[in-house]
């Protein structure tokens, strides 16, 4: 939601990034204020997921230029774990499996590490157990999730719920959800979207990376951005998503190329 007195959380200017020597981001610009929900859409290979990973600091991606300011600090100077502690959360498109490590242990370690980083108290295992079970109700999760190994043998829907559970625990200021809707059936989509909506408030912001308009029926964005060839080529309100659903992406790309041609 757009608030009058909101603060700027994230400013991205002219961001370039490469992976394996191939440039994927080519001058990305984006400003996100607290309270807002942004959707980033675009065709396959346009750089949406790369943008999400670069913000979180994935080591396989090299930043080639531009800047990212998060709450007044240069985010690119921070190690990935420091970004997480500062309040940047990435909901993974493909959550990683960690065999042998119980979900409850993993969640508690993450929670306590982030809490400590923010100068707050840790929870002991019993306190944490109460705390996490409360959060799990939000996502209609079965308590046996806690005893299973992290993401191992989870269905697609269970993995995505586990991501949003982590978002609920870590209370990020900026949550980037990378294709959280992929692999979800309609019931799971509703549960996950309801969970996200209940976590959104005026002091945090959410960036949804998605292919489809479907998710945006449940989580209504304030802004919809279209990426093409590594940068945002069009920005509109929630109605832009409906237009994209109806017309596809080609016309946006053509429009932006025409305007780029006109300006040179």
């Amino acid at each position: 939601m757009i608030y009058q007195d909101s603060k700027t959380l994230l400013t991205v200017r002219g961001l370039h990034a490469t992976v394996s020597g191939v440039e994927i981001l080519k001058g990305m610009d984006l400003t996100v204020k607290s309270g807002e929900v942004h959707a980033i859409m675009g065709p396959n290979g346009s750089g949406k997921s790369t943008f999400a990973k670069v913000l979180a600091g994935h080591p396989a991606y090299q930043v080639g230029g531009g800047e990212v300011i998060f709450e007044g600090d240069n985010l690119l100077d921070l190690a990935p774990e420091a970004r997480a502690r500062a309040g940047v959360f990435l909901g993974f498109q493909y959550p990683i499996e960690i065999p042998g490590v119980a979900n409850s242990q993993f969640l508690r370690l993450a929670y306590n590490t982030v809490q400590t980083g923010r100068g707050k108290d840790e929870l002991d295992p019993l306190e944490f157990d109460d705390f996490v079970r409360e959060k799990m109700k939000l996502l209609e999760m079965n308590p046996d999730f806690l005893d299973r190994s992290v993401n191992e043998g989870f269905s697609g829907g269970e993995k995505k719920r586990n991501e949003i559970l982590q978002m609920a625990l870590l209370e990020p200021k900026l949550a980037i959800l990378d294709e959280t809707d992929s692999g979800l059936d309609i019931d799971a989509l509703r549960i996950v979207a309801n969970g996200v909506n209940r976590l959104a408030h005026k002091d945090n912001a959410i960036v949804l990376v998605t292919h489809y308009q479907r998710l945006l029926n449940y989580i209504v964005p304030d802004y919809v951005h279209v990426m093409d060839s590594g940068r945002i080529v069009k920005t509109g309100g929630k109605e832009l998503a409906l237009e994209l659903e109806a017309r596809g992406y080609d016309w946006v790309g053509a429009e932006s190329k025409a305007s780029a041609g006109a300006s040179t």
Partner: protein, 478 residues
């Protein structure tokens, strides 16, 4: 591999100090004269000298084994000193008489002795270079009839027991290094649990090689009579030297009817430096004989040190319904090489064995599991379950599994499972994105991976093992 991960797996060796104690070292080289010298220094009976000479003569005819998946330059057995004892050598009646320098060494090592021993409730036999320095708690154990002393003392005080069991599980000519050990062993631990006695505390031995160019050949013999049980712990460290040191131990366990022996090792011999220079060659024969019905022998090992490890703690399941277990974590880093596993020989009816092996390889190291499960024609109803998991850290290490399964009885059931996994960039990034740094992430992943083995260790050893792997304990409850 990320820098943090590299730093983590490259932590320096903590036990690489040399204690400045004058040692009584035999001249280098091996001959019948050397063996007579060792035997003479120890005032041994004639039968033991004969056993040694017999072993030596067999050893001369044997070939150094080349089948393990390890590489090292040929060992010059004439360049090794076969006897080194801290001087002055005299009979010690209490811990107060031990050289204070030596005690400080054990303090550095964290060996529980003196008051700490009492608090921990652990009886300790300490083998320094080749000689047993002190055995704590001997008197208290003697009240229930348990004998726990150095093997030299056992030869003097209980010759009939030693003569009956020494070499009964690992014959003197069993293999190249066992034969060498039988010829030149200088000390070790002896433990005898009489009929019906449950040992009231964990027994523990710490081994330390201190002198350069010394071989360490200790000999351990544990006998549990009918219905007896004991839990035995073994820890090992050594100083840093640029040269390689040979450690060729033999451990024999005998379990009679309904007896139970649990043998746990945390092995942290010096592994050589990050370029593979120096370190211990750990060529060890460990074997347990489940001689009686319903007996049980359980090996648990955490192998983190040594330049080369060649070790297969085994169980011969002769008694009907006897049980053999092998739980192992082997961690190799830098240029370490490990070829380790077990043998489960099923002879009796309804014998059961469990093998759980976890290999972790990092750096340029090579880690092989080698295991034999043999079901003899007599072993009707025998069962085995084996699980061999490997974990790779980084791009330059190797892991291998060599299972040998021989089944000669149609009623047997043998299961083997194996897996290989890798700590990759994506797993570490996932942790990092949740605020957790690489060190804690690796710790948690490795702890999860080794959980099945650590659960088998006595508590204080589990703590040490966890710390040794550069890890923190899971959770804080309990």
């Amino acid at each position: 591999m990320s820098t943090a991960l590299q730093n983590l797996v490259n932590q320096p060796y903590q036990h690489g100090f040399v204690t400045d104690i004058e040692a009584d070292v035999a001249p280098k080289g091996l001959s019948e004269a050397t063996i007579r010298l060792i035997s003479g220094k120890k005032n041994e009976p004639e039968w033991l000298l004969e056993l040694r000479l017999n072993a030596y003569r067999q050893w001369l005819k044997m070939e150094e084994p080349l089948w393990p998946n390890v590489k090292y330059p040929k060992i010059d057995f004439q360049a090794i000193s076969y006897y080194s004892a801290p001087r002055p050598k005299k009979t010690l009646n209490s811990m107060d008489e031990v050289d204070p320098e030596l005690l400080r060494t054990f303090e550095k090592l964290g060996v529980p002795m003196n008051e700490r021993a009492k608090l921990a409730g652990v009886a300790v036999d300490v083998i320094f270079d080749s000689v047993s320095v002190a055995t704590t708690y001997k008197a208290k154990l003697a009240e229930v009839g348990i004998i726990f002393c150095s093997i030299s003392e056992a030869v003097r005080e209980h010759p009939e027991l030693v003569r009956k069991y020494l070499g009964s599980v690992v014959p003197v000519g069993d293999n190249y290094y066992a034969a060498l050990n039988s010829a030149v062993f200088t000390d070790g631990s002896f433990c005898f649990i009489p009929k019906g006695v449950k040992c009231p505390m964990d027994l523990s031995t710490y081994f330390r090689i201190n002198t350069e160019n010394t071989g360490q050949f200790e000999r351990t013999l544990i006998v549990a009579e009918e219905g007896a049980s004991v839990s035995y712990l073994e820890g090992c460290t050594a100083p840093k030297f640029d040269t390689n040191q040979l450690h060729a131990a033999v451990v024999e366990l005998v379990a009679l009817d309904d007896a139970d022996i649990k043998y746990s090792t945390v092995q942290n011999w010096y592994a050589g430096d990050e370029n593979g220079l120096g370190g211990i060659y750990n060529f060890v024969t460990k074997r347990g004989l489940c001689k009686g019905v319903n007996s049980r022998i359980s090996w648990t090992q955490v192998e983190t040190g040594s330049a080369i490890t060649w070790k297969y703690p085994s169980c011969v399941l002769r008694g009907d319904n006897s049980v053999g277990e092998f739980y192992s974590v082997a961690l190799t880093n830098h240029y370490q090489q490990a070829d380790t596993g077990t043998k489960m020989i099923h002879l009796g009816k309804n014998t059961r064995s469990t093998i759980v092996s976890k290999g972790i390889s990092a750096g340029h190291s090579n880690n092989s599991y080698r295991g034999l499960v043999r079901i003899a024609p007599t072993a009707a109803g025998a069962r085995n379950y084996s699980q061999c998991d490997s974990m790779l850290i980084g791009e330059r290490c190797g892991a291998n599994t060599f299972p040998y399964i021989q089944v000669n009885n149609p009623s047997a059931k043998v299961e083997h499972e194996a897996s290989t996994s890798k700590i990759g960039e994506d797993q570490l990034f996932y942790f990092a994105q949740r605020g957790v740094g690489a060190e804690e992430a690796v710790s948690m992943i490795i702890n999860g991976f080794c959980k099945d083995v650590f659960q088998q260790l006595p508590m204080e050893f589990a703590v040490e093992a966890t710390r040794l792997l550069g890890l923190k304990l899971e959770g804080s409850v309990g």
